[in-house]
Amino acid sequence: MELAIFYLFASIAIVAALGMVVLRNAVHSALSLAVVFVALAALYVLLNAPFIAAAQVMIYAGAILILFVFVIMLLSPRVDQGAGALKWQRPLAALCGLVFAVELAIVAASALLPTERGPFTPERLAEIGDVQAVGALLFTDFLLPFEITSLLLLVAMVGVIVLAKKR
């Protein structure tokens, strides 16, 4: 059952990702990317990570994709002409991608995974709750990185205002 759900959402994600790369119209690509994000959120739920699934839908599908669609609307770019500067660029890129995927698969299949497990078994997570456990970690072990992200967001905000300001 778990495996059937995985294959369903994995195939949806792969088909939508291919669609994002192949489709000519930028808006269609953005919509395909939304499908990928939602399929991955479903997989996160399957993997006992409901907090990440919710954050994925809110931040990626909600905020980042809306920003993309706004910029596409603002610039209204022409339909992508397709032909790059080099004639053989596309087949070469596809070949490189295939080789890269095979390499990653070989490394993943031959990697020795550690057998030592952490304290968060599925039963324990169900008992204390995933959001509580992640939140506790964020505010104890990862407090400094968590605070630095707020600084990062501030810097990004200032940078965007400076870049987008009319001169």
């Binding site: 495996l3 994995a10 910029v71 995974l113 497990r117 952490g118």
Partner: protein, 100 residues
């Protein structure tokens, strides 16, 4: 039984599709979307290992990556808008000169 290998293979496939997307498309918006796809593939690997190792550090990392991705997209799209204002085109091959 859903093993960690299934998820890592899916992550590898999505990452490769994103890499090919960056290589074949000349529209910076779609190249950016491909980079987002690659970040998502990495997130999937983090969550898969978090479940396999029964350790939530991976999920915290995904949270931090989400923040970085949001900041990166905001700044990147602002750069693309500035580029469009300057040159009336957003083809990346047209933007090969560093000094505007």
């Amino acid at each position: 039984m859903l093993t960690v290998n299934h998820l890592i293979f899916l992550s590898a496939i999505l990452f490769s599709i994103g890499a090919v997307g960056v290589l074949v498309r000349r529209n910076p918006l779609i190249m950016f979307m491909s980079i987002e796809l690659m970040l998502n593939a990495v997130n999937l690997a983090f969550v898969a290992f978090a479940r396999y190792l029964q350790n939530l550090d991976g999920q915290v990392f995904v949270f931090l990556i989400l923040t970085v991705a949001a900041a990166e997209v905001a700044v990147g799209l602002a750069i693309i808008v500035a580029l469009f204002r300057q040159r009336e085109t957003i083809d990346v091959d047209e933007a090969s000169i560093l000094k505007g």
